[in-house]
Symmetry: C2
Subunit: 215 residues, 2 copies
């Protein structure tokens, strides 16, 4: 399994949000910052190996074997991210790029021992679930802040956007995983929310609210 093949499987997995939905060639190309023709080439190769279902013009979906492989890469990515934050004091906005490299290291023992060192974490620094050895994982039953009514309150359990820029915005406004958040009011005009975050009050735009998960 090459690094490129692994990256395609992971991208298809994320675009299909885990299930075996059929994904567009163009969507994969955009996500991977490559060209549609390259995606077609890889689709054929992965189909050959039994990792994706592919029929010309019909989109691409993961087979069971493909899902299993994708989950093992996601597991590695999220364990490494957790390691970087927990053991090496990385900030949560600094881990993704390094984990993109580390997720391709091939050693089952390494990842098992890492899991053990981290005490078998269930969620990564962004609140995303870490699949177990056999691919099992439990997603938080969470809601987007933007879809909750005024008065709702809960605890931040994850972010949808994991970009460095967004995470740094959250840091600046002291929003982090575990923080209690309450919706004090909503602006009808632009959907911006007035929030109580811990002990403080802040107003955030609709765009921000679309990327924070509450439980």
């Amino acid at each position: 399994m090459t690094r490129s093949e692994e990256n395609y499987l992971k991208t298809i997995f994320h675009l299909g949000s885990g299930d075996d939905a059929s994904i567009n060639t163009n969507a994969i190309a955009e996500q991977m910052e490559t060209k549609p023709s390259s995606v077609t080439d890889m689709a054929k190769k992965l189909a050959e190996k039994g990792l994706v279902n592919y029929k010309k013009y019909q989109g691409i979906s993961l087979t069971d074997a493909g899902i299993k492989t994708a989950l093992s890469i996601v597991r590695k990515h999220r364990l490494w991210e957790t390691f970087l934050v927990e053991k090496l004091d990385f900030a949560w906005d600094e881990v993704h790029e390094v984990a993109e490299q580390l997720e391709h290291i091939k050693s089952e023992k390494l990842i098992d021992k890492l899991d053990q060192l981290l005490k078998f974490p269930k969620y990564d620094p962004h609140g995303d679930p870490i699949p177990g050895k056999n691919g099992e994982f439990q997603e938080h039953n969470k809601d987007l802040l933007s879809e909750l009514p005024v008065g709702a309150h809960g605890v931040c359990v994850g972010v949808k956007d994991s970009s460095s820029a967004f995470l740094q915005y959250l840091d600046k406004h002291e929003i982090s995983i575990g923080k209690p958040i309450q919706i004090l009011g909503k602006e009808a005009f632009d959907g911006s929310l007035h929030l109580k975050i811990g002990e403080r009050e802040h107003t955030v735009s609709h765009q921000i609210a679309c990327n924070i998960y509450l439980k």
Copy 2:
């Protein structure tokens, strides 16, 4: 810098034992399990980048820039090996292959933090020195067990052969870094040595004695 380029630099560095001696094309090919023609191709590319000195038929040597790059890869390799043994309970014969992959991860912050987590180790699990951030390192002033006279005693500080097979042999006979060793006698016929290892006595072949460093 590609992974392949890094591997060539590291190999040239090891074959030249650190200094800027001129290395044979064939020696590099054999060490890397590749063909001499591939080495020639890479020599040209690395020369183009100013990392090696290369003139047709004259052998290959590292430039200062090449030595610096090689040292940073060796640093990463040995820090990762130390991490695997110290933090993840790997045995010293299990770390090399994984470190071969990990040494190519690109993140200065990662390696600095790792160094810190390990408390800035000076030697790796095989007794090899770990270069610092600026490439500086101190080799143990050590001697091969095979070159010491009868009666000599010291402490094992390193191994020359880091193969899994050899390290497992050492484990079996309870030879490890830090163990006191004394030469009780030498067999004139085949050069095998009668040793006191800790509290025990063992006889080892000349071949074994050629791969253990004492101080």
